[in-house]
Amino acid sequence: MLLQKLIKRFKLLWIYIITASSLPFSYILSLNCNFLCFSCPLSGLCIIFYPIIILAIIFVKLIRKIKNFKI
């Protein structure tokens, strides 16, 4: 019971850390071009694409592992 609780807490912490790191990570990736977004063909796509990918990965994990995801 305690172990299950700990695993659950760890999963929640893992989700929190992954999502918290996604925006700064995409920010650092985008620093190369110094945010010339409107003159770039991607035009800001790179900044928001990574967090959305992370969110999709979490959803897929929820389907497979936690089994409390309904689709």
């Binding site: 800001g44 309904k70 689709i71």
Partner: protein
């Protein structure tokens, strides 16, 4: 069935329309009144009372913008104070961005089994506050001088701007030139994935809105202090699960306990519960023993 679902808690439609008229251009009545009183010659729209930039400015050490854009800080301050006392009623009843996606979710008769639903609100909370932490971390990176050009990350995923441009586009189709790839991704995630394909239609509010996340924290503090909040009282529950399926924020878990940081006091659970087990209370001493 679909029509019944569409007409539930119908007073919220009125409040959504009021919210649209108050905040979205060409009406933007709140900002119009402010500009008139302050003598500012500027055409107001949803973006002139940005929901998110002041949060970024506070954390990135640009609080001095309060002198340039006091209306934005006043607006956010008013939303947070309201959240403390009355709960996040701005999110639930007035915010045009959340209202638009929730309305689309209601209108499209897609069964809930084809929609995303995270049954454990603690997971939703972890994702929501993870993104808020990321948002604040970027503000701190800006404070540390990582980028001179960059203003605020929220401008790169602005559903408010997208909504304003849709409205402008309806009035004047030339405004549709605004679209770029980032805004199209936002549109897809806000209205299609977060709206149509999420139970409750508030996927965007759940994961990407920093003001909503801050309001949730403030509401949690407010509820601890005994301010206005939704509770579930003890009674004969028939386990119909309607409260869980109608909650637009997926804030009620399988044990019927309400996750306070997600609840927006929208009263959907109150209106839908057949045994009236949910109610709103204000500093009630007896309520603490009844809270489930």
């Amino acid at each position: 069935m679909w029509l019944k679902s569409l007409m539930r808690n119908k007073y919220r439609y009125i409040s959504w329309i009021i919210g649209f008229i108050l905040f979205v251009g060409p009406f933007a009545i709140i900002m119009r009144i402010y500009y008139y009183l302050a003598g500012i010659l500027r055409e107001p729209d949803l973006h002139t009372a940005c929901f998110r930039m002041p949060i970024d400015w506070i954390f990135s050490g640009r609080i001095y913008y309060i002198f340039s854009y006091p209306e934005m800080f006043l607006f956010i301050f008013a939303v947070l104070i309201t959240s403390l006392i009355l709960g996040p009623i701005f999110c639930g009843w007035l915010c045009p961005v959340g209202a638009f996606s929730e309305a689309i979710s209601r209108i499209i008769p897609l069964p809930n089994r084809y929609r995303i639903q995270i049954k454990d609100p603690r997971i939703t909370r972890a994702i929501r506050y993870g993104f808020l932490t990321g948002f604040i971390m970027i503000s701190i990176l800006i404070l540390l001088g990582f980028s001179e050009r960059f203003t605020a990350i929220c401008c790169w995923y602005c559903a408010s701007s997208v909504l304003q441009q849709i409205t402008n586009g309806i009035i004047n189709p030339i405004e549709l030139e605004y679209w770029f790839s980032g805004s199209i991704i936002v549109l897809i995630f806000w209205l299609i994935i977060g709206g149509i394909f999420t139970v409750g239609g508030r996927g965007w509010c759940l994961f990407f809105c920093p003001l909503g996340a801050l309001s949730g924290i403030i509401h949690k503090i407010g509820s601890k202090l005994g301010f206005y909040r939704t509770i579930r009282i003890e009674g004969k529950c028939i386990n119909c699960g309607k409260c869980i399926s109608v909650c637009p924020m997926q804030a009620i878990d399988s044990n019927f306990s309400i996750e306070r940081t997600l609840c927006i006091n929208c009263k959907e659970c109150i209106s839908r519960c057949p045994n009236k087990l949910y109610k709103m209370i204000w500093r009630s001493k007896n309520a603490s023993s009844k809270i489930n």
